[in-house]
């Protein structure tokens, strides 16, 4: 791969390389050096900034088209008016909110559990950690397939188990459960898939947080006779607050964004992501899809900002206390 990278830097490098010899390091950053630096930075940032600038611009302009194809009114807020008047939008917004409000703390707890399990010395620790990392390597689509296999209707492992077909397990239900016909169950499966696949991410962030707590504090606490629970409560948790705040912010963003798991496992109960896809592919209304997309982007930006504020406030508050 270095060869390829070299090709690209060629454009930037040739121009600067043509000048007289120069020195790096001790010299103050001269004009030439500054130019060189910007030329190195330019391609990547140009690509990202133009692309996302265009994406945002197009999202806005497309969403302002309203009316039958070929005879759209522009600019029109018709899509937004229609959205606000549509019960499907409000239902999807409610489901997405529930998904975020339940999913985010759930992912924090699961990640914390895994992080605490591997954050100690034991034989085969490396292997256990590697196994804990497995879910993130599995494509989301595959994870969704695994869940649909386990929870298939009418005869899947979970239904077999609950109906007592395995003999060693009591019969809990008399008829197979149709997971995909019930809103809480279908969305629950989507959440299960999301949590299962992404737990290594929360685990890693929390592990880094755990690693930054100095061992001396625990030693000091132990000499003063603190129990393990007290050590956890008064040393681990308070110092893990920044890492936990990171997990909450990042995971809540991901929960808002979620599309694949609800799309495959809860098609009858659209969240905002699925609703965008429905507007685009089923209703064939790109402009309505763009309006929904823009609302989702704004929603994420606002809630992330608010959550960040709240967490920062709590952090300073907790440190003081």
């Amino acid at each position: 791969m270095p060869g390829l990278a070299a090709l690209a830097t060629g454009a930037a490098g040739v121009r600067t390389g043509a000048g007289p010899r120069h020195h790096l390091g001790g010299d103050p950053v001269g004009r030439r050096q500054r130019l060189y630096m910007w030329l190195m930075l330019f391609p990547a940032f140009f690509y990202l900034v133009t692309a996302f600038g265009l994406i945002l611009y197009e999202m806005v302009t497309i969403s302002l088209l309203y009316g039958p194809p070929g005879a759209e009114a522009y600019p029109s807020l018709g899509n937004y008016a229609e959205m606000l008047a549509s019960p499907e939008f409000w239902a999807a917004l409610r489901r997405t909110t529930v998904f975020v409000v339940i999913g985010t703390p759930l992912q924090l707890l699961v990640g914390l559990g895994l992080a605490l399990l591997v954050h100690r010395e034991f034989r085969l620790r490396g292997m256990v950690r590697a196994i804990f990392m497995l879910p993130i390597a599995i494509p989301s689509v595959v994870t969704a397939v695994i869940i649909s296999l386990l929870f298939s209707v009418p005869y899947g492992h979970v239904n077999d188990l609950l109906m007592g077909r395995f003999g060693w397990f009591p019969r809990l239900v008399s008829a197979p459960i149709n997971w995909y016909a019930s809103e809480p169950l279908a969305l629950g499966l989507a959440l299960l898939g999301k949590t299962w696949r992404d737990m290594p991410i929360s685990m890693l962030i929390l592990l880094a947080g755990l690693g930054s707590i100095s061992e001396e504090q625990y030693e000091a606490a132990r000499t003063m006779g603190a129990t393990s629970w007290q050590q956890f409560k008064y040393i681990t948790v308070p110092q893990l607050v920044p890492a936990m705040a990171s997990v909450l912010v990042l995971r809540s963003i991901e929960a808002w964004k979620e599309f694949i798991f609800p799309y495959i496992l809860a098609p009858s109960f659209p969240v905002l992501g699925t609703l965008i896809d429905h507007a685009y592919h089923v209703a064939k209304r790109p402009s309505y899809a763009a309006a929904l997309a823009l609302v989702l982007v704004v929603l994420i930006a606002v809630t992330t900002g608010v959550l960040n504020r709240i967490l920062r406030f709590l952090e300073t508050h907790l440190v003081k206390a």
Partner: protein
């Protein structure tokens, strides 16, 4: 103390079960024979097939569209890796070596791109790619360009650390010996950075290989351009046959599992980018 050890061992067992059992079940279904998946409710589906068979794998291998999807996946992933490193490595080098006024803004920009949901970004992207002049690009390149939008911030983050780890003396000595900046970067820095950059490359490959939304939208009207995850979903819509779906899912996952074992150490940097201060 003893109670805690017991609780820990129990927790570990539960966690390992929760992670490994679903993977085992996927494998089990992929080698299941007909009687193990079509039970009619007379007996439970067995936890190990009655007559394990590789029939479904043989069937997949015999299908042209499966191979086509595989080749498409590999090509898109390689294009994405090439593009991401080409753009990302120089940028990471600049960010690693120079401190300047806009530094914080650039890093913030990189991080805030995550706020965009793929399912939202994909709408304008597809609309743009359907129209000239971009519709002239081969669909594989279109998907790779989209995947680069996702991978580039990670590649830059992961590579900043790689370049920071290279001693500055190396460049200074090269400069004293009369190397141009271009020569120093391509012939001295890149080879030294290669192992670290390889981790970013593999991470990008995995991201592209696993990605669903952009691949799905950009190949929606063009079934030949499907990547493996899109192909899996198509097969799912077309047949609910459990062993076929499972075999296909295993084939898609095995390369990623192997690869990710190789770059675990580095994946941490990518996955936690911006989260750990």
């Amino acid at each position: 103390m003893k109670r805690i050890r017991l609780g820990w061992a129990l927790g570990l067992a539960v966690a390992l079960f929760m992670i490994l059992f679903p993977l085992y079940i996927l494998f089990k279904y992929s080698i299941a024979d007909r009687a193990s998946i079509v039970t009619g409710g007379r007996y439970p589906e067995p936890l190990w097939p009655f007559a394990p068979t590789f029939e479904m794998y043989r069937y997949l291998v015999s299908r042209g569209d499966f191979w086509a999807a595989g080749v498409t996946s590999v090509r898109i992933a390689l294009y994405t890796v090439a593009l991401s490193l080409t753009l990302g490595a120089p940028a990471a080098y600049a960010l690693a070596r120079y401190r300047f006024a806009g530094y914080g803004v650039l890093i913030f920009t990189l991080l805030s791109l995550r706020l965009f949901p793929d399912i939202a970004t994909v709408i304008p992207v597809v609309e743009r790619f359907y129209k000239p002049p971009l519709n002239a690009l081969p669909v594989e390149v279109q998907v790779a360009l989209a995947h680069t939008l996702l991978s580039l911030p990670y590649v830059i983050f992961m590579s900043i650390g790689v370049f920071q780890g290279i001693p500055k003396d190396l460049e200074e000595q090269a400069a004293i010996l009369g190397c141009s900046r271009l020569y120093t970067f391509t012939r001295i820095l890149l080879p030294v950075a290669a192992p670290g950059l390889a981790a970013g490359a593999i991470y990008t490959f995995l991201l592209s290989w696993n990605e669903f939304i952009f691949a799905y939208y950009l190949t929606f009207t063009n079934p030949e351009g499907a990547t493996l995850p899109v192909y899996l979903l198509r097969v799912m819509a077309w047949t609910p046959q459990k062993n076929l779906l499972a075999a296909l899912a295993v084939v898609i996952s095995v390369p990623v599992i192997l690869f990710s074992f190789l770059v675990q150490k580095y994946m941490q940097a990518g996955l936690t980018a911006g989260a750990v201060k």
